[in-house]
Every structure is written in structure tokens, then in C-alpha cells.
Amino acid sequence: MEQRHQLRTGSESTVEGESTQKASSAAQRIETPEDLIRLDRDSIPVPLEVRTRLAAALQAEVAADSQRPWWRRWWDGNTEG
């Protein structure tokens, strides 16, 4: 499905290109580059693989942490910057 994006500077208010009423109403108005970047960002989900890898890494980390003696955990917890 096509999406229509208009990028314009603040001083420009005209719309060029396809100018049918229907197309104009469907057009998504982009006022600044940041608007365009946000539109792009919102269309890109984080791959599920990242979450899966992270969950496995956290599991391994917590497991390793639980095997350390209590005094070591206390010491690291009070000296980490």
C-alpha cells in the first residue's frame, strides 16, 4: 500500500504533485525532516530476535550471579560505578 508524504519547509505552504482532492486528503503532511524520521522510525519494529537473545543473556547473567558467594555479590554491588 502506498503512503504519500510531503516534505516542506516552514515557509512553503503549497502542495505540488498529484493534486486530486482525494489524494490530498490521503496525503500525510510532513512539516520537518524530524516528522519524516519519526514516520520512518514508527514503521520499523525491533526484530523479535533481539528480545529473544536479550532474554537468554539475562537468564545466563542472573544464573551466574546467583552462583557467586554472598559476600562477593555484596562487594560488587557496593563497588560498581
Partner: protein, 191 residues
């Protein structure tokens, strides 16, 4: 003050489905849900590499988990996540080490190119939009690229962007103005 998220092993074993994959601890999952898309996007556009962006996102949240106790608010956490992301990406992009200082003549180049062209209405498919934005950002000076990507997060103040980019808020505003112009010119050339 934030508390350490619950043990992910507990979360996994609590599941009634033994075949269920281990997921993030619930409270950390909320942090991940709130920030991961912005962190991943920033990494993607700074590295121009989807695989590296995944690695950066993973590493940033792993660090966040380790430091979870230290954050008292969402704002501090967001800024910190961005800072870690920028550090990761700067290591990946060696060119950042020698960040170029741009002159008025550099800006004039962007002003001259296509200066007479009307501002376009672009008809794009979403995937094409991403490719064009990437090419546009890649063509910009690093400072402009960074300011645009950070300011695009509306939850970051100019002061926070200034802190992240190690300059004054006024400098951020000035660079943003020039970055917008440069982006618009460069984006038009990607059509």
C-alpha cells in the same frame, strides 16, 4: 527508586508451558517496550547496518539491566540509553572519532544544490522511504545527522540533546536549522 527486575529464570519457570521460551522479566520488559524501538532506530540509522543495529540494541539493554537500580526516572533512563547507544555506534563508526567541523562554505553547498527546485510532494512506499532516509542521513555531516535523529525524539528536550552531543542548547538549535535545510536538499536528490 527503581528496583531490580525479577529473576528471568523465575519468570520462565512460572510459565505453565514448559516449551515456552524465556522472556524478559516483566518490569524490565516494560522498559524494553518503552525504549527499544527508538534505540534500535537510532542504531540502525547511525550504523546503516541492520545486523549491527540489532547487536547495539541488545548490548544497550544488557547494560541497562545491569544498572537498573540506578535510575530514578524515565527521563534519566532514556538519556542514559541514548548515551550508551551513541558510544556503541561511535565505536562502530570510526569516522566519528574525527568528527568534521563544518564551515559556512559546507552549508553553502547544500544551499546551492537544487535551490530552485520546489519543495516536493513525494509519493513513497514505506520501504522506499527508509532507504531514502538512510541515503539522505548518510550524505549529511555527522553532526547534522545526530542532531536530527535526537531531536526527532519529541521526548528529548533541547537541553538533553545538548548534553548528549556535548554542546550548548543554542548550538543545537543552530545546527538543527542548518541540518533541516541540508536534509531537505539531500532528500530531494534521492528521488
Amino acid at each position: 527508586m527503581a528496583t531490580r527486575p525479577q529473576d528471568p529464570i523465575d519468570a520462565a519457570t512460572a510459565s505453565t508451558d514448559p516449551s515456552a521460551q524465556v522472556d524478559l522479566p516483566a518490569d524490565f520488559a516494560a522498559i524494553y517496550a518503552a525504549h527499544s524501538q527508538r534505540i534500535h532506530y537510532l542504531a540502525l540509522r547511525l550504523t546503516s547496518d541492520p545486523i549491527q543495529a540489532q547487536d547495539v540494541t541488545h548490548d544497550v539493554f544488557l547494560k541497562a539491566f545491569r544498572k537498573f537500580d540506578g535510575f530514578r526516572g524515565n527521563s534519566a533512563l532514556r538519556t542514559w540509553l541514548y548515551r550508551i547507544t551513541l558510544n556503541h555506534c561511535s565505536h562502530l563508526r570510526q569516522s566519528w572519532a574525527a568528527r568534521k567541523i563544518h564551515t559556512a562554505e559546507d552549508d553553502a553547498i547544500f544551499d546551492r544544490v537544487d535551490a530552485q527546485a520546489p519543495n516536493p510532494l513525494h509519493v513513497l512506499e514505506t520501504k522506499e522511504l527508509g532507504e531514502r532516509i538512510q541515503r539522505t542521513l548518510d550524505s549529511l555531516p555527522g553532526e547534522y545527522r545526530l542532531v536530527l535523529l535526537l531531536v526527532a525524539d519529541q521526548e528529548l528536550s533541547y537541553e538533553q540533546v545538548a548534553e548528549l552531543t556535548e554542546q550548548s542548547p543554542d548550538a543545537v538549535r543552530g545546527k538543527l536549522h542548518r541540518a533541516r535545510k541540508a536534509f531537505i536538499r539531500a532528500f530531494a536528490r534521492t528521488a
